[in-house]
């Protein structure tokens, strides 16, 4: 066991973890942040996407100990003062989801994409989200939501 400290959604948090514990489980089981979902657990599906120092990563392929001292943003950390983040709002308005399981990962992947490219083309959005899978095949409205968020 070792103690790690991270800034999670703007607040300092600590956890006592084994080296083999993956960041997604540290977030869910040690810190109670269950908005980040586990999908494939092998860095394919993107359901567990969070921001590490502002950039999208798959938290099933990062060890908790690798995140020691870093800044993490999860889906719980996007809203400000009760107002949804523009990407969350756009997913809501354009119904960018069906079952919703992949949605937190898609929202954070989209936030990272728009940080790097504030006005992406439709093709750039589709390429930028290629690390996230939606098994409901809801991509059409997801892309529309990201286009709307980019122009808002």
């Amino acid at each position: 066991m070792r103690r790690i400290g991270m800034t999670v959604n703007g607040s300092p948090r600590t956890a006592d973890v084994e080296p083999r514990e993956l960041l997604v489980y540290v977030l869910r089981e040690h810190l109670g942040l269950t908005g980040t979902n586990v999908g494939c657990d092998t860095s394919s599906c993107g359901a567990c996407t969070v921001l590490l120092n502002g950039e999208s990563v798959k938290s099933c392929t990062v060890l908790g100990v690798q995140a020691d001292g870093q800044e993490i943003t999860t889906i719980e950390g996007l809203a400000r003062n009760g107002e949804l983040h523009p990407v969350q709002q756009a997913f809501h308005e354009h119904h960018g989801l069906q079952c919703g399981y992949c949605t937190p990962g898609f929202v954070l992947a989209a936030v990272s994409l728009l940080n790097e490219n504030p006005s992406p083309s439709e093709a750039e959005i589709r390429e930028g989200l290629e690390g996230n899978l939606c098994r409901c095949t809801g991509y059409h409205n997801i892309v529309k939501a990201v286009q709307a968020a980019a122009s808002s």
């Binding site: 080296p19 514990e21 993956l22 092998t42 860095s43 999208s56 798959k58 990062v62 100990v65 690390g131």
Partner: protein, 272 residues
């Protein structure tokens, strides 16, 4: 949770990492972790110690010197893809990096990790082989350079010794005289087959991804081109001397077919 337990040490310097590797028999380096951690998750690897070199920011750089480009081993795919130096001086590396995995993978994965993992389905090792890149390894007694042709020794095996770390990769500044094309069935999949073509020192070098246990030079294509064959005739030689795998993404015969098609496309991209 990764099934088997292991110890973890965060290296503060490259020499500290070399020291830790020298002191432990069953240690593996951890950089971005995007090759190693999935293997450990699936129980294909179970090292006793991970030496984390992921914070050695001094090994993340791209700089030009004396007609070649020096790339720090911990430079991430994301940074390769976004590098103005590479786009101008060795664009094929940036273009290839942009097509690896997906954005999340490119935010973590590093060129050094990809190279030392030596997966024959990886894109960058093939490009580096075609570029006749030089790998710089640091061990207890100092640094040595290893030619790409000598680096990839087998399936997931490289010429790095157990107590060495890869610190730098040197590639020639060929500008835009390079192309890499690959075929995969889904956006983020590994290449079923990939082909790199570069012009270097008056010759055309061609290398293949996933056509054997290591990235391979397509000697038949190179010899045909050197003898004056046209693109189509030379490309037909792509699978000569290779032993491609058969798996769910394609049979060996299909891969041989793809190798010829993709070689033709890579050579056309080089001319285009």
């Amino acid at each position: 949770m990764i099934p088997s337990q292991f110890d973890y040490e965060l290296a503060g310097t490259a020499d500290e990492a070399v020291g830790l590797l020298s002191q432990h028999d069953d240690a593996k380096l951890l950089a971005g972790g995007h090759s190693l951690l999935p293997l450990m998750r699936l129980r294909f690897a179970s090292p006793a110690l991970l030496v984390d070199i992921g914070r050695l920011s001094e090994l993340s750089y791209i700089k030009e010197a004396d007609g070649s480009i020096a790339i720090g081993a911990l430079t991430r795919h994301h940074d390769l893809a976004g590098s103005d130096v590479l786009r101008e001086r060795c664009a094929v590396i940036a273009e290839t990096a942009e097509g690896i995995g997906d954005p999340q993978v490119r935010h973590r994965g590093t060129i050094g990790g990809s190279v030392t993992h030596s997966d024959p389905a990886s894109d960058l090792p093939t490009v580096l082989l075609a570029l006749e890149a030089e790998m710089v390894a640091r061990g207890p007694s100092g640094e040595r350079a290893i030619a790409a042709a000598d680096f990839f020794t087998g399936f997931l095996e490289s010429a790095l010794r157990d107590n060495e770390i890869l610190t730098e990769i040197r590639v020639p500044a060929i500008g835009s005289a390079g192309a890499y094309v690959k075929f995969n069935r889904r956006a983020q999949d590994w290449a079923t087959v990939g082909v790199a073509a570069v012009r270097l020192n008056g010759a055309t070098n061609v290398a293949l991804t996933n056509m054997g246990a290591t990235p391979l030079r397509a000697a038949g294509v190179e010899e045909a081109l050197a003898a004056g064959a046209d693109t189509a005739a030379a490309s037909a030689q792509a699978a000569n001397g290779t032993s491609p795998p058969s798996d769910t993404n394609g049979s060996a015969e299909y891969r041989a077919h793809l190798a010829s098609i993709l070689t033709k496309r890579a050579l056309e991209a080089l001319d285009g």
